[in-house]
Amino acid sequence: MKLIVAIVRPEQLSDVLEALFHAEVKGLTISRVHGHGGEMEHVENYRGTTVKMALAEKVRIEIGVSNHFVEPTVRAILSAARTGEVGDGKVMVLPIEKIYRIRTGEEDQAAVTPVVPPETD
């Protein structure tokens, strides 16, 4: 199992989510973050104050996946998040020691295998 952490541009988020759902990645967490990745800072003016915005808005996506899902997940993020300009972000793949699914107590592989939700009305 791996934890995939991706930092992407907020304006690419919709494309990334779409690509992930196409790749059948069903479980993920996102958070709004600020960061700096060497991109050009933009300059803002508020009355007499001129500032350089050194931190750009980014979105962090975290996905726990089983091994055979790593490749398609990374590929989906790479293709959907890329604009070709500096500041597109990073994808990191980290080892996971242990995963538990809280609802059932399932562990590891079973915990990151999506279940078909029971039919509800």
Partner: protein, 428 residues
């Protein structure tokens, strides 16, 4: 000169001026947060250049004695526009009151082109549009032009303001093209409370717009005032009823839209119809706009904030219903279908059509010429970042994290033009 009239028109002028910032909040709440300032600024910015060109030339083209189609240049630079009486109020006050109408009409158009039109192109467009479209159309209806000769009834600007702006909006939305996310992605309103706030302020200001159009503190003003209360109320009630019937719940953005549609619809009718008719007009006026809004979102027309559905259709419906409900018992002269004067309906339909056609055609020509000298759209990548940063160098909502103070001479200053390079030419 009548002192009471002067007081009322001073107040009305301020009320109508307030509608433009109010429109900024109405529109600004409906865009994404990265475009909030840009959208607000499209309304606020109209307050400056439009008032200036109105005083310099627009007023003269609209209200000086001229041909059937446009005024003369006799009031250019406000020459001859002094403290003498125009009706029962000082001439300069009449000029200022009419100027506030020109400002909001120009700002109305912005709703069709938010989130992708370059700000400088917008400024150039509205200045040209007010001189070449708004001023002549105002002359046709209110300045002694051919539509007033033909007997068209437009009390406070259903055709002059709303149909006029909406026709321009339709052409501008088509010409500038849809936002790149349009139809591909959900683009949600970022601040619905802003939209409600703007709606409330619009309604408040609209009392000056409609009741002020009596140009006096008299019975006609009182009638227009009451109708400006009742018609939007009926529109809101109707809208909520349809919402409840169709969806089972009432939406806030829908309610805000309903109020605006009701206000738009009663604008041409305000001083010509009785209060009971105003209730009917507001209720009926809401229906076409309600369904047009739903339909428009499924088309390729990215009239982003529905200027056509709300103002165009609302204004046209109101203008036609003015021809139905105009009642000499209330208006003191003008009569419509129910008062046994069906010909008025034809005049109303024709006046709406003429205004819409001219405004649409002239808007196309203005945009075509502007596109020759400047790019109209921002670059596609920049559209993702949002226009607040690229067009204004500011953000509506910033915590200030990572903001580093710089002063002239710093390298970041040199890079400014790069960072703001927003255009790669023309329509895209």
């Amino acid at each position: 000169m009548i002192q009471a009239d002067v007081v009322w028109m001073l107040v009305s002028t301020a009320l109508v001026l307030l509608m433009t910032p109010a429109l900024g909040f109405f529109y600004g709440g409906m865009v994404r947060s990265k475009n909030a300032l840009n959208t607000l600024m499209m309304s606020f910015a109209a307050l400056g250049p439009i008032a200036v060109v109105w005083a310099l030339a627009g007023y003269s083209l609209a209200f000086s004695p001229g041909s059937a189609f446009v005024g003369s240049l006799s009031y250019v630079g406000l020459r001859g526009v002094g403290l003498e009486a125009q009706g029962t109020i000082p001439h300069v006050l009449f000029m200022a009151y009419q100027g506030t109408f020109a400002i909001i009409t120009a700002a109305l158009i912005s709703g069709a082109v938010v989130e992708r039109l370059r700000f400088s192109a917008y400024l150039a467009f509205i200045v040209a549009w007010v001189l070449l479209v708004y001023a002549p159309v105002a002359h046709w209806v209110w300045g002694g032009g051919f539509l007033s000769t033909a007997g068209a009834l437009d009390f406070a600007g259903g055709a002059v303001v709303h149909v006029n702006a909406a026709a321009a909006a339709l052409v501008a939305a088509k010409f500038v093209g849809a936002r790149k996310d349009y139809g591909r992605r959900a683009m949600l309103p970022h601040n619905v409370p802003f939209t409600l706030l703007g709606t409330g302020l619009l309604w408040f200001g609209w009392f000056g717009f409609n009741a002020g159009s009596a140009l006096a503190a008299n019975n006609v003003a009182a009638l227009a005032f009451v109708n400006t209360l009742l018609a939007p109320a009926a529109a809101l009630a109707t809208w909520m009823a349809i919402d409840l019937y169709r969806e089972g719940r009432v939406t806030a953005v829908g309610a805000a839209t309903a109020i605006v549609v009701g206000l738009v619809a009663v604008t041409p009718a305000a001083g010509y119809i009785g209060p009971a008719s105003a209730l009917a007009l507001g209720g009926l006026g809401a229906i076409p706009s309600y369904f047009a809004l739903i339909y428009r979102a499924r088309t390729t027309l990215d009239d982003s904030l529905d200027v056509v559905a709300a103002h165009g259709l609302g204004g046209a419906t109101g203008a036609v219903l003015t021809g139905v409900f105009a009642d000499p018992a209330w208006s003191g002269g003008a009569a419509g279908l129910v008062a046994g004067h069906p010909e008025q309906l034809v005049t109303q339909v024709a006046s709406v059509a003429v205004v819409a056609l001219y405004s649409g055609a002239a808007t196309f020509v203005i945009l075509k010429l502007l596109a020759l000298v400047m790019p109209l759209r921002i670059r596609g990548r920049v559209e993702g970042v949002g226009l607040d940063v690229t067009e204004h160098g500011e953000e509506a909502y910033t915590a200030g994290d990572g903001a580093i103070l710089i002063s002239p001479g710093d390298s970041a200053y040199e890079r400014l033009p790069d960072a703001l390079a927003t255009s790669d030419g023309g329509r895209a």
